[in-house]
């Protein structure tokens, strides 16, 4: 029964092919157009040598070919039409070296190519498999959306070339270590505005200081251990407020904008506005030691001396959840900017990962022997850097929880901070070291180093600037670290130059798209993935309710045929023809793939052989 086989054959066209090669199609056509002329020169029929004559060619030739042309008749007639079609296609794409009216050819035909790594930067996830052909509507939807996202990716990559700023850098002479270059040298070498970013604030009375930069990087908040709290626009050095809260200050943190900040004081958590007016005293949050602010969730996460991890929703002023970690005093805390998970370091050397949705830690990692002193997570949520009492600095891949690097620092690092471009600052005693690319090749020397006046209490990279803020016993130092900050900011997300009106508008928009705390999880893109398990459960329920499976495939029953064609043997044969129909495509695909690979390999070998060995005289005897 050949009719039964036919559909298979048709379906056996590799399903993924059209889709996989979607971008390739273009390439193919341009190639066609480019080689169009040469292709046309080839004989259409075996005998014919010359292409059909054209009226614009010389009249002599015309006369010559006249006789031939009549002879060849029909075959000849078709070629001009095909020719036209092809040139038309070629015209659209602008094939390489194609001539235009003036006789010049475009040396760069078509649109400019986009560099591969740029495209990779804007890639979001892998492409899924296309649904099978019978679901043609869904298939169409998927193909269209894939095409749209490809286009967006390409456009983004193109736009990336037009970004105005380049990142900073610092290079020493051949034998010179960049870490020996002092801040004064850098400040002297660069222009005045950039040089002014290196400055010291001598505040010896109320130190040591903790600090925080606002999300846009314009504003600096300093909190001295002995109660001195001040916030300023650090670039213009304009003081916004200064006060002494007459209590121990454990930590300070900007909230979503530069209008509000939180101060963890001796007993309670306080919220002030940028004039220094106390807005709230939150008595539910006591003995807070460290704070982290999750800007897209409007959550202030606090870790307290009593072992509680608490979340405060600052947009509504409610406590979201209070988790008793049962891990003692919590004074090491970091948050993962990629998925808003809180990392806590403990005195037994473990680092635990928390969300507000679960009372237990998501992950517990043993990172150090002895206590953890500091934790930092990079912007993409790939790497975690920890330092411990064992004087080690370790780098982990927190997608797979694998250790990548381990360094030994003679003095051990007390504070860590990661910049937007992946520089790591580590404070050891009164020295701040900056390392570059700690997760790649093992680092032997710091990128930069600087000695502060007192023992360092807090380090923080300024977003969108090449600046590292260092809070220490004698005040505050703003260090210039070339290459630390992201050079190009996004005006709709964090704009350092925004006006008051723009800030208001941003605030409204940001509040409208506040992410609910329930959506915090290890994988932030989980919402966009297909939920197979729920579907299966629902399908099971449906089968239960209906009493049959509505999606079940109908069993094949061979039709009754007359004249001996329904003998049991024939029926079995017919059944065999449709058996394992679903697997056939897969099998055929794999066989085809294998054959293709084999063929490629053989060709490659042949080429290599041709390239490598000159033909020896003995080759002729080879089979």
């Amino acid at each position: 029964m050949p009719t039964a086989i036919k559909p298979h054959r048709r379906r056996s066209q590799p399903v993924g092919m059209t889709y996989q090669f979607l971008p390739e199609v273009k390439k193919y056509t341009t190639k066609m157009a480019a080689s169009g002329e040469t292709m046309l020169k080839k004989p259409h029929v075996g005998k014919k040598r010359k292409p059909p004559t054209r009226y614009w060619e010389g009249t002599e030739e015309n006369g010559k070919n006249d006789g031939k042309k009549q002879k060849e008749g029909d075959n000849n007639k078709q070629t001009p039409q095909q020719n036209k079609k092809r040139t038309k296609e070629g015209g659209k794409r602008g094939g390489a070296g194609e001539k235009i009216l003036s006789g010049k050819s475009d040396p760069f035909p078509g649109s400019a190519p986009v560099p591969e790594e740029k495209l990779k930067k804007f890639k979001r996830g892998e492409k899924g498999e296309l649904p099978p052909r019978p679901q043609y509507k869904l298939r169409d939807v998927v193909v269209r959306s894939e095409a749209a996202s490809d286009l967006a990716q390409k456009q983004n990559a193109r736009y990336d070339l037009m970004l105005p700023e380049d990142a900073g850098f610092l290079e020493g002479d051949e034998d010179e270590d960049t870490c020996t270059i002092s801040q004064d040298d850098i400040a002297d070498a660069v222009d005045i505005t950039a040089g002014a970013k290196y400055f010291n604030l001598t505040l010896s009375q109320f130190g040591p200081y903790r600090l925080d930069y606002s999300k846009t990087g314009r504003h600096l908040l300093l909190g001295g251990r002995r109660g001195h709290v001040t916030c300023l626009d650090w670039q213009s050095k304009q003081l916004m407020c200064e006060m002494n809260v007459m209590e121990t200050v454990n930590d300070v943190k900007w909230l979503h904008s530069e209008a509000l900040f939180a101060v963890a004081q001796k007993k309670w958590l306080y919220i002030y506005d940028n004039k220094g007016i106390e807005l709230h005293c939150i008595r539910k949050f006591n003995d807070v030691l460290r704070m982290q602010f999750l800007p897209y969730h409007f959550l202030l996460a606090t870790a307290s001396a009593t072992g509680f991890l608490q979340y405060l929703d600052v947009s509504v002023g409610k406590e979201v959840v209070a988790i008793c970690t049962k891990a003692g005093r919590l004074d090491v805390m970091a948050h993962n900017p990629h998925n808003a998970i809180i990392h806590l370091g403990h005195s037994n050397g473990t680092v635990t990962l928390w969300t507000p949705n679960q009372r237990e830690p998501l992950v517990k990692m043993l990172c150090h022997q002895g206590g953890v002193r500091s934790v930092a997570v990079d912007k993409t949520g790939t790497y975690m850097v920890t330092s411990g009492m064992d004087k080690k600095l370790k780098v982990y891949d927190i997608r797979s929880y694998r250790p990548l690097q381990s360094y030994f620092l003679p003095a051990g690092a007390s504070c860590l901070s990661l910049s937007q471009r992946g520089l790591l600052s580590a404070a050891t005693g009164d020295i701040v070291q900056v390392y570059r690319d700690v997760w790649g090749t093992p680092v032997t020397k710091p990128y930069m180093a600087h000695r502060a006046k007192g023992s360092v209490w807090g380090v923080h990279f300024c977003p969108f600037e090449d600046v590292l803020g260092v809070g220490h016993g004698e005040g505050f130092t703003s260090m210039v670290v070339p290459g630390a900050g992201e050079p190009n900011f996004d005006g709709l997300d964090a704009n350092p130059y925004r006006s008051a009106k723009q800030r208001q508008e941003w605030e409204v928009k940001a509040l409208l798209e506040k992410i609910q705390p329930e959506l915090i999880g290890l994988d932030p893109s989980q919402l966009s993935q297909v939920d197979h398990s729920t579907w299966e459960q629902r399908h099971e329920d449906r089968v239960q309710a209906l009493g049959f499976d509505p999606l079940a495939k109908e069993k094949f029953t061979p039709r009754l045929k007359t004249k001996g064609r329904s003998s049991s043997g024939k029926v079995e044969k017919r059944k065999k023809q449709v058996a394992h129909e679903d697997q056939r495509d897969v099998i055929r695909q794999t066989v085809e793939d294998r054959m293709k690979i084999d063929k490629e390999r053989k060709e490659k070998e042949k080429k290599e052989a041709a390239a490598a060995g000159q033909k020896s005289a003995l080759d002729r005897f080879r089979k």
Partner: protein, 492 residues
């Protein structure tokens, strides 16, 4: 601002003195020997470091004058925009909620009839014109100014059907007085009498009329289906197939020679105008009231049935409907397709209007008001934006086809925002939270309880069938799908 290579002029500075740090020797242990070595080193390389520090010129990022718009430099790097999916989800959720907030579909009620409105007709050329016929023989014209333009006494008794000629210059009405009348579209001048252009006296009552899309031919139905030439006073062709009465007849708008009619013997009959006999018919469990062809897919039509359902058929395969559309809780009286052919609207005896996507089994929207009684006739306007419903209590109501749509001109940014939020809603439509909000509709208590009751009854029937199947010989009780249940037979 900063040239990429700046060579420092300070050559003889000692970094250690200025707070520089030598990694090999922790600070504080710099011995004299070391210092000497380093000084020499520094003298040898005349300090040729290269440095560049980010230093932005504010003029590039701030607008020049207050009259300019603000500058917003963009960087689309995904790592600068974390939580892409949760933020989009939140936006989609907000968009869905706002859609429900702004869902105010009712626009106007056109009153003026003195009896229930029985039929309506769209004008093929003018969006602002629409015709309605009531039970006391009046024909009223309505405009988007929401006022009646012209009233005329067309028939004695009910006006059963009306249709505007494809050119829009005249229209036809049929009534209970067994007449077909053709009228001019223009209002008669001052002093002129309201008189029909043509009057044809038939033998029996006509129940429905439809006009050919291109030619001067129209079709009526009553005891049989008659095809008339506009120039003649007797039908050029009559079809009957052992039935005594038809309730509705419609020309196919694409394949213009095809016709379909609903007959009182629970059948839908298909005809070709060029042939002498009907093509085929499908007999269903209950009677269909009206039908409407899909204006974009020539072979599909939807019929409104007495058994509370609507059925979409492919005319090539009549043995089972393409889709069964359920949700009404009483007989469906009328149906009309949107001009895009993607959706249709149905009017029901349960005092509601429902909008169905053409390939979905359940409605996406339900409209009702406190005062609206049994909806008899329904039309979807030719610009795909409005729905007109005519009901028992003498009113014609104007509704929006998309309940939350903003009417009037939209600014480009508004349009972009609408498109964006629509895309987001589509993307996340299957998420339970969003689906719950998007599907929520307030229903009158009677309809709510009735639909609940129907659901219980259906479930009970299904359970019984399941039990019977469980206790009978395997294969003896085949599964009959919902689509197959309602068709009795197809006759050719």
């Amino acid at each position: 601002m900063v040239s990429p290579k700046i060579f420092s002029q300070s050559t003889n500075t000692l970094p250690a003195n200025k707070g520089g740090y030598c990694p090999q020797h922790p600070v504080g242990e710099v011995t004299r020997k070391h210092m000497a070595v380093r000084i020499i080193l520094l003298f040898i390389h005349i300090n040729a470091m290269k440095v560049k520090v980010l230093s932005r010129n504010p003029d590039d990022y701030v607008r020049e004058t207050k009259l300019d718009i603000q500058r917003v430099p963009r960087n689309y790097d995904p790592s600068l925009h974390p939580f892409e999916v949760p933020r989009e989800y939140t936006r989609a959720l907000n968009a869905t909620k706002l859609e429900r907030v702004f869902a105010k579909p009712f626009l106007a009620s056109l009153d003026g009839h003195r009896d229930g409105v029985n039929c309506m007709a769209k004008h093929p050329k003018s969006l602002s014109t629409m015709l309605s016929g009531s039970c006391d023989g009046e024909v009223v014209w309505n405009l988007t100014k929401r006022e009646c333009v012209r009233t005329l006494q067309a028939h004695e008794g009910f006006v059963r059907g009306m249709v505007v000629r494809f050119c829009g210059t005249s229209f036809f009405t049929v009534g209970d007085d067994k007449t077909i009348k053709q009228w001019k579209m223009e209002t008669p001048g001052y002093g002129e009498e309201e008189e029909p252009l043509n009057t044809i006296l038939g033998k029996s009552v006509f129940t429905s009329i439809d006009h050919h899309q291109k030619e001067g031919v129209f079709v009526t139905c009553g005891q049989q289906v008659d095809i008339w030439d506009e120039q003649r006073s007797s039908p050029i062709r009559s079809f009957s197939w052992g039935v005594d009465s038809f309730s509705c007849v419609r020309f196919n708008p694409v394949e213009t020679e095809l016709l379909a009619s609903c007959a009182s013997d629970r059948s839908i009959v298909l005809y070709d105008m060029r042939e002498a006999t009907p093509l085929k018919k499908v007999i269903m469990n209950m009677r269909s009231n009206t039908l409407c062809w899909n204006p974009m897919e020539a072979y599909n039509f939807t019929c409104s049935n007495e058994d509370y359902n609507l059925y979409t058929y492919d005319m090539r395969y009549l043995d089972k409907p393409f889709t069964v559309h359920m949700d009404h809780v009483s007989a469906v009286l009328d149906v009309d397709y949107s001009p895009t052919g993607k959706e249709f609207v149905s009017a029901s005896f349960d005092k509601t209007i429902r909008i169905f996507p053409k390939d979905s089994g359940h409605s996406r929207e339900v409209y009702h008001t406190k005062r609206m009684q049994h909806v008899i006739s329904i039309k979807w306007s030719s610009d795909n934006k409005y729905i007109l419903s005519a009901s028992d209590e003498m009113n014609i109501r104007l509704w929006k086809a998309n309940a939350a749509e903003k009417l009037g001109l939209l600014a480009p940014r508004e349009k972009a925002a609408v498109n964006y939020s629509q895309k987001l809603k589509d993307k996340f439509q299957h998420h339970p939270q969003i689906r719950r909000i998007a599907r929520h509709r307030h229903l009158p208590k009677s309809i709510y309880s009735q639909s609940k009751e129907l659901r219980v009854m259906k479930e009970a029937r299904r359970r019984k069938e399941r039990n019977v199947r469980k206790h009978s010989k395997p294969g003896s009780m085949p599964v009959v799908t919902e689509k197959e249940k309602h068709v009795v037979t197809v006759v050719k």
